[in-house]
Each structure stands twice: as C-alpha cells, then as structure tokens.
Amino acid sequence: MPLIAGYRKLPKPALALLMIIIGVVGRALLAPAPNVEPVLILSMLAGMLLGGVYAIVVPVAIMALSDVYFYFVPYEGIYPAFSILGLAAFTYSGFVFVSLMGGFLMRRRVLWRTKTIAIFTTISVPLTIAYDAWTAFGNWVFLSAPLGQTLPDVYGKQVVFTLIHIFSSLLFAPILGTTFLALHLHGLPVPGPRSAKSPEDSQ
C-alpha cells in the first residue's frame, strides 16, 4: 500500500527555520566532541539552497541561539566577555563566509543527482580548513595571545582539531546535503495514498 500521498513544497522561511533548529540542537548535543558540529554544513546549505539574506540569517541565528546556552552554562565565567565577543566576531563571520562560498560554488548545481552531493561534500573540506584557519587566528588574538602563546603554537595545536572538523564535515555533508536537497527540490513527504509526483518520477 502506498505510504506517501505526495510532496508539499516548503517555503524558504520554513526550510531556514528547520536548518536553525537542527543547527542549534545538533551543536548543543555534540558539544562534548569538539569540532563535531553540523553548523558549517548547514551554513553551506543555507547559501546553496536559500541564498540572499538567509545565507547570513541561518548561520548567525544558529550561532547566536546556541551561544546563549554555551556561554551562560558550560563556559560561564571562564573567559572574559571581551574575549568571547571578539572570538564570536571570527566564528560568526567565518560561518557567513562559508555560507556565501557555498552559494557561490554550488550555483547552477542544485540538481537531484549524486554528483551534486559529491561536489558539495568535496567543497566542504577546503571550506572547513579556511574556516578553521580564520577562527584559530581569532582564538590567538582574543584568547591565546593574552596567555603568551604564539600564532605558530596555536596553528600547531589546531591541526588535530581541524582534522576532526574535516571528519565532521565529511560526515554531515552527504547526510544533511541529501536531506535538505530533497526537501528543497521535492518538498516534505505527505503520508497517505499516493496521488502526486514523487522524486522517483522525476528521474
């Protein structure tokens, strides 16, 4: 018996809201594993699938909402507010950069094809490295330099975290990429007797 009646198109604000919810919950739940996070991939997807103002709103909203939790619960009182705000400027701008680059590099490639996900996953690796290079610099400026550490020290210690971040991006890119590409191109499955065109029909 058919289980899917059809697909309901999701408007951009709904897709953006879904990305923000998954980003905030995912970042909070995965916090014990540093640099394993869905935000970078969701930022790329926001730029690629939604574009425009969403390329900025989605990553900033995910970070702002989850930072409220992080800096008032587990990190409360550890770092001075100036350092947190300074570092936030680097992390937020880093994710916005990733989002804009995701939109630029994946333009005219938003198709329901394996190749789309393969290219998207591949692109996530250099963007992860660029993001980490940028935010490690911010970490040095606002947290490590005041503690007497040099920039090469910070980049040296960053290597293992960047490898983990690449693992995270490689892990989430196909999973979230396929999910949101399907939602964007075909919409949300509606349960019930089959009556409308499904993704398989478009192949």
């Binding site: 014990p32 594993a33 540093p34 550890i78 770092y79 001075p80 100036f82 350092s83 094809r113 394996t114 190749k115 996900i117 393969a118 996953t121 005041p146 503690l147 007497g148 020290d153 290597v159 293992v160 975290f161 490898l163 983990i164 690449i166 693992f167 490689l170 892990l171 196909p174 192949q203």
Partner: protein
C-alpha cells in the same frame, strides 16, 4: 555512468575518506603521560601575596596538573579547573586557593617546570625526579614568570 553506480562509488569514497581522516587524527593526537615509579619533586604555588610549597616525596602523580592536585588534597587548598575532553584530554586551571583567573585584570594561572615556561597542557607535562614545578598567578609573561 548510471546514477546508481555513481551513488555506490560515492558511498565507497565517502566511507574511505572518513576512515582516512580518523587514522590521521589518531596519529597527531597528543599522547597521555605514562605512569612511572615514585619520584621526588618540589611544587611551588605563587598567588597574590602568598606562596604554597609542597615537597613531593615518593609521589606517583607525574604531571604538572596531577602533582598540583595531589598537593591540594594533601595540604587542603582549593583547586578548580575545566576539563577538555577528546582529543586533547587536558585541563585548564581556573582557580587555586581562592584566586580565580581574572580576564579583566589579565591574571591567569600558568606554570613553569625548572624555570621553563609551559609549552603544553598541564596534564601532558611530565614531571621527572628532582623537577621544580611552579604555578604562578600573573599576567602572561613567558619565561620571565619562571625566574
């Protein structure tokens, strides 16, 4: 190439890439300090206008942090820290004997071993027989703090 073949090839490449990155991560991950036999060392803690001295004889806690923790239990002074989990498995000392890290005054707990400023996390800094570990509450000053 058919879409299904492409998808299978992609999944294979994806899983291989994930495994490769995990192997690379484990090779560059800092190694924990191996436990050793009993040793003797000296621990100095210099706060604002006070100093704590702890002579460790027959100690087995052979890292800069575990020796500090041993002293806090033996002497009975307050010690607070934040733990960093995988992959670093290290700690960030936030308070000793009531003196808490203070970003507004730029005062932080830092440590030296034998007059050399810390170059790694306190849980990865091995302490050897005869070493002098000094924890200093001061603005970051590198080697100058250790003299």
């Amino acid at each position: 190439m058919r879409e299904r073949t492409q998808a299978l090839l992609f999944v294979g490449a994806w899983l291989s890439a994930l495994a490769l990155v995990l192997v690379a991560t484990s090779t560059v991950q800092p190694r924990p300090v191996a436990p050793r036999g009993p040793f003797s060392g000296l621990l100095l803690v210099r706060g604002e206008g006070w100093t704590i001295e702890y002579e460790a004889a027959g100690a087995r806690n052979n890292t800069a942090f575990s020796l500090l923790r041993e002293a806090s239990v033996a002497i009975g002074f307050e010690l607070d820290w934040v733990e960093y989990g995988w992959p670093y498995e290290d700690v960030f000392v936030t308070s000793i004997n009531g003196s808490r890290n203070d970003g507004t005054r730029n005062l932080w707990w830092q440590y030296c071993v034998n007059d050399a400023y810390a170059s790694q996390g306190a849980l990865h800094q091995e302490v050897l027989d005869g070493d002098v570990v000094t924890w200093v509450y001061a603005a970051p000053g590198g080697e100058d703090l250790c003299r």
